[in-house]
Each structure stands twice: as structure tokens, then as C-alpha cells.
Amino acid sequence: MSVVAKVALATALSLTSVSASASTAYVSNEKSNTISVVDLDRLEVIQTVRVGGRPRGVTLSKDKKLLYICTSDANHVEVLDLASLKVVRTLPSGPDPELFVLSPDGRRLYVANENNNMVTVLDVERGAMEAEIPVGVEPEGMGVSPDGHWLVNTSETTSMAHFIDTKTLAVSGSVLVDSRPRFAEFTPDGKQVWVSAEIGGTVSVIDVATRKVVHKITFEIPGVRKPAIQPVGVRITADGKTAFVALGPANRVAVVDTATYRVESYLLVGQRVWQLDFTPDQKLLVSTNGASNDISVIDVGKRKVVKSITVGELPWGVAIR
């Protein structure tokens, strides 16, 4: 067999080995105003859907039939039906929605409004705003505990993680973290929340019960200047053992052992890596790379980038079903 044939065969085999999931990724392209639909079996874009201005945060409905999209410049949330790929509904969100999280029961969307320092609570079924909760300046990251009781919002300028009781819809406490917190992710057991700080260059691990920072993860990559290491998106595997942290213009995703907080590797993905999501079987992780206009597909088990796929301009968020 020639070298070329061997390489072709090896590539084909490696593609088959990751294709068992047959998942679809939905990627918001902030500048193109589109959603790229990516077949993670074939590892290619199969459709591009035009949506409202500046789509950023995206998340799936509980039944995974709908995609909610923060169309920031349109000042509302759009609902994309994933069977027809048509926007079937718009929901009020307050001005400039950037990122949101769905309550575990699927009934509420908690939306961060970057411009008016509020978190909007949206009743999805009724399509109505239930409440607006004042938080810190420039709210951004949103995380919800697995039992739905606690909502954590981060405010970029105030550099705090605000704990909101979803029963009373009031802030019950705030924890100071490092500069410009971007994202909040609960561990699957609900005991910790991990908050990334873009300018601070750290991830603060907060104990939910005591509201104390129990550990601060720092990152050091040989050959990368410190200011380029800007943690943004965080995802933790369902078994709670491994965390993945997107490091912005360092173009790397850090792989962290959650037991020791040790960074085990730094995967080179694309430029200005922003948000992350797993496939439902957790075999693959997808990163959005804003400056290189692509996404990278990571084999979670092998901790290796399988492929980078060109999408629209300035890819921001990703949700996978």
C-alpha cells in the first residue's frame, strides 16, 4: 500500500472512530448574523441559517427540539425550530441579551443583559418576563445548579459572582473573583461553581455551601505571554472528573483534573477560543474560535483536536444535540 493510501485509510478510520455520536452542533456567528449547523459525523457545515442581529449565547430547550438564541442587537431571544430550521418565535429578554442559562426543568431562561445591569427571568412557555434582578455592572456569565435552586451570575466590571436564590429571585450573596469574570459552571454534584476571569487569567473554584473561593486555578503555557491567557468558557464532564477551559487569545483549551486542580494539557485549537460544549455522549467537545472563524472538534478521551471546521464570521456560542 502506498503512503498516500495508508494515510487516507488511517484518516478514514479515525473519522469512523469519532463518528459514533452522530451529533449536530449549532454555532452562533456574531458578525455574520447566522447559525451554522454542523454535522459532527461528517465533520462539516450542512446548513447556515440567518437570524437576528449579533447572535451570541445559544442553548437548547429541554426536549432539544428548539434552539434559544440571544440575538443581542435585536434585543430579544429568538427561538429556532430545529426540524424546520426556521425562527418560530421571539421572546422578550430585556436589552442586549448576551448569555443565558435554561433552568433544569426547562421552564425558565435566565438572561444576562449586558447593558442595563440586570438578569431577566423569562417564562419560556408564556413568553413573558417574570422578573428583573439587579446585579453588578455588565452581567455576563450565567450558571445554574443541577437542582435549579441557585443561579450564579458574573458581572464583568464589578468582578463578582452573584448567587441568586431562584425561589425568591433575589441576590443572596456575592463572591469577589478576579478581573472580568466571564463564565460560571457548576460541577455536576452542585457543590462547586467554577468562574473564569478573562483579565485576571484565572478560574476561581467557589464552594457553594460556604461561598468561599477554595482554589484559584492559574495557567502557564510555554511560549505564550501571560496577558494572552484569558479564560472564558468552562465545561465539566458529567462524571465531574475533568474540566475544559477555553483560554481566549492563547488559542488553547486547558484540560484540568478537578480532583487536584492540575492542568494536564493545553490543546491548540483556533484563534480567540471562546465557548465550549460537549456532544450528548461526551465523546467530543467543540470550541468556537472567534478570530479564525472556525470551530475545533476535540476527542475528549484522546485529548486531541480531531478537526477544525470553518463556520461564519466571529463564531461565539455553541450548543450540541
Binding site: V3, V7, I221, P222, G223, V224, R225, P227, A228, P249, A250, N251, R252, Y266, L267, L268, G270, Q271, A291, S292, S308
Partner: protein, 215 residues
């Protein structure tokens, strides 16, 4: 994409600003002169571009390999589209019989040095551009102050002449200022254009590393 003619003009401006370097009356550019909305990042990081073999040694030896040097000089400049540069790199490496990984690392080292240097030169040029705009704005302001002090209803011929002269200066300088200001967003984009190019070509080299073979 911006039109080719416009892109060429922007490159020319950035280049001209860059070349008017040492000996310039304004001296060394300062961070305060950075006129762009983009965050000033004076240097690129090797580690943000490359996870292949350590390029430290290749950084000192790539010029000693004539074929690598010729390739780097051909594919680094922005006038060659990224797709063409990609194809050239792949063709070049396909023909390498021994030590493909080493050769790819040499090419990376060469591209990093060339493009990082070019980017640095452009950044210093943009800083000078910013400094000149500040200076121009100050001069316009000085002319305006002088004009404000001269009575517009004067019958004194000398004063009227001075007013006419100042008004002409003001119009001319304001026009230059505005024209430069309009160009700024495109000029400011150039460091990122180079960064994207380097990342794209580095990724091609990484893919070639992973293909193995050639050894």
C-alpha cells in the same frame, strides 16, 4: 473582504508610516499613541500558534537551509493568498524525504520570525500614525484659538489677510485629519490580518506534522 485597491492603499499607508521610522522628529512611539480600538499586543506568542516540536533551535538555523528560506520568503508576504501559500507549503513538504517534522518546524520558525517582525514594524507605524494625528489635532486647535482672537468684522486689511490664511489652514488640516481618521479602522486591522495569516499557515504545518511519513 475589503476591495483589493483599498487593501493595497491601506498596506501602503501602514508601510509608509512604518518606513518613516528612525530619525523621525517625534522620536520613539509610546503606548499612549496607540489609536486603535484593538488591544495593543506588541508581540505574538509562539505557543499560541504552534504545539509541534520546540522551535527554539530552528529559530536560529532556518536561514541556513536555502530551500526553507526561499519558501518562507515566497509564502510569508500578504500578496500571496493564504490558499496559494497553503498549497505551496504542502507541495514543498510532500517532496521532503527525510525529517519532515524537522523541516516543518524550520518553516514555522521562519514564518514566525518574518511575520512577527513585519507585524511589529506595522504596529510601530500605527503608533507614529496616532502620534501624528494627535499633533495635527493640537495644531488645528491652535489655529482655531488664534482665529477666535481675531475680530471677523475687522476693517484692518492685515488682520483680514491673517484670518483668510488661518481659515485656509484650518480647512486643509481638518481635511487631512478626517481622511486619516477614516482610514484608521482598516489600518488598525492589519496586525490581526498578519496574525490570522501566521495562524492559518502554522495550522497547515501542524497538519503536515500529524500526517507523519516522509521519514
Amino acid at each position: 473582504m475589503m476591495p483589493v485597491a483599498r487593501a493595497a492603499w491601506v498596506l501602503w499607508v501602514a508601510g509608509a508610516m512604518a518606513l518613516a521610522s528612525a530619525g523621525a522628529a517625534m522620536g520613539q512611539p509610546k503606548e499612549a499613541d496607540w489609536p486603535c480600538v484593538q488591544v495593543l499586543q506588541p508581540e505574538l506568542s509562539v505557543g499560541a500558534m504552534w504545539s509541534g516540536p520546540d522551535p527554539a533551535q530552528a529559530a536560529t538555523t532556518w536561514r541556513e537551509m536555502p530551500a526553507v528560506m526561499v519558501l518562507v520568503q515566497r509564502v510569508a508576504p500578504r500578496r500571496m493568498p493564504v490558499d496559494e501559500a497553503t498549497a505551496e507549503i504542502r507541495r514543498f513538504l510532500a517532496a521532503v524525504k527525510d525529517d519532515r517534522r524537522g523541516t516543518a518546524t524550520q518553516i514555522f520558525a521562519g514564518l514566525f520570525e518574518s511575520l512577527n517582525t513585519e507585524r511589529g514594524t506595522i504596529i510601530r507605524g500605527i503608533q507614529r500614525y496616532g502620534a501624528r494625528q494627535s499633533l495635527l489635532a493640537e495644531r488645528i486647535e491652535a489655529v482655531r484659538r488664534e482665529l477666535d482672537g481675531l475680530d471677523p468684522k475687522t476693517t484692518d486689511a492685515k488682520v483680514r489677510e491673517r484670518r483668510a490664511d488661518l481659515e485656509a489652514q484650518m480647512t486643509w488640516r481638518a481635511r487631512i485629519f478626517d481622511d486619516r481618521e477614516k482610514l484608521l479602522p482598516l489600518v488598525c486591522e492589519q496586525p490581526a490580518v498578519i496574525e490570522r495569516r501566521l495562524f492559518a499557515l502554522s495550522r497547515v504545518l501542524s497538519e503536515e506534522l500529524d500526517k507523519g511519513g516522509g521519514n
